[in-house]
């Protein structure tokens, strides 16, 4: 059992822990996945056509939010939303951004699995606000 071998030397000090934490975060920001995510986000933000499509979709969704919640959109409204969605998702910068985000998420999930195995608690769920079931 782990406790039988615990001594002060085998416990990670706070300063070592903070150092390895910051080093990990820094290395993660240098990965191709993170850099591609940052670059694609900036490209999306600077793409006027994509931003216009995004705002149009957002505005329509906000205007129809209540009707969507009640599942009572008529055919015309449904089609308008569908058209705005397809206009948005067909923008190249949007597609690049989504793909980069998916790649980064996949990398983070694999990292999360390693951390979860090390600590014996689900890393992602434990860090939810309010705890695992919060």
């Amino acid at each position: 059992m782990k406790t039988e071998t615990i001594n002060e030397l085998s416990v990670t000090s706070k300063s070592v822990l903070m150092h390895t934490t910051r080093r990990f975060a820094k290395v993660l920001t240098e990965t191709p996945e993170f850099l591609a995510f940052e670059q694609s986000y900036q490209a999306f933000r600077q793409d006027q056509k994509a931003q216009t499509a995004y705002n149009a979709l957002q505005n329509k969704q906000q205007a129809l939010r209540m009707m969507m919640m009640l599942n009572s959109l008529d055919e015309k409204e449904r089609q308008e939303l569908k058209d705005l969605e397809s206009q948005f998702y067909q923008e190249e910068t949007v597609q690049n951004y989504i793909q980069a985000q998916e790649n980064l998420v996949e990398l983070c999930q694999d990292i999360g699995d390693v951390l979860t195995e090390a600590v014996g608690l689900d890393f992602g769920s434990s860090c939810r606000i309010g705890g695992c079931c919060g």
């Binding site: 990670t12 070592v16 990990f24 820094k26 290395v27 999930q109 999360g112 689900d122 434990s126």
Partner: protein, 135 residues
């Protein structure tokens, strides 16, 4: 490139730098006071057959009551037993110590995540969650 076997059985090729950083972080976390304490208390709880039995019985009874599977006198008996079990769980040292240790470990992991997230500019832990995982 180094391989790490992930929980879902996949292997991921991390760059050597990332592999080293993840390994160091995982080892630091594993040997942190909060995680070591949780691991010890959890092991103690798992070895306590009586405690495990109490938890399982309470869980099963709770599900039965919430599902509406018992009515009338049976429901009354189930609720009485559930109350007894809750008292027994509250006074079981291994269960209480494991619960407290888990809360401390979770708070510690949240602190670590906050540190990482501040440097990344987004919530790191939320990206590590697999759909349907956790609670």
């Amino acid at each position: 490139m180094d391989k790490i076997m992930t929980k879902n059985g996949k292997t991921n090729r991390f760059s050597p730098e990332l592999f080293a950083a993840i390994s160091d972080l995982a080892e630091s976390l594993e040997h942190s006071e909060a995680v070591l304490d949780f691991s010890e208390k959890n092991q103690r709880l798992v070895s306590d057959q009586n405690a495990i039995q109490l938890i399982n019985e309470a869980r099963e009874l709770q599900n039965k009551v919430y599902a509406g599977d018992s009515i009338g006198a049976e429901l009354e008996a189930d609720l009485t037993r559930l109350h007894e079990l809750q008292n027994l769980i509250s006074s079981n040292a291994n269960i209480q110590e494991q619960t407290t240790a888990q809360e401390t470990a979770v708070a510690f992991l949240q602190e670590i995540n906050q540190e990482i997230s501040q440097l990344l500019g987004f919530d790191f832990a939320s990206l590590t969650r697999r759909p349907g995982a956790g609670c």
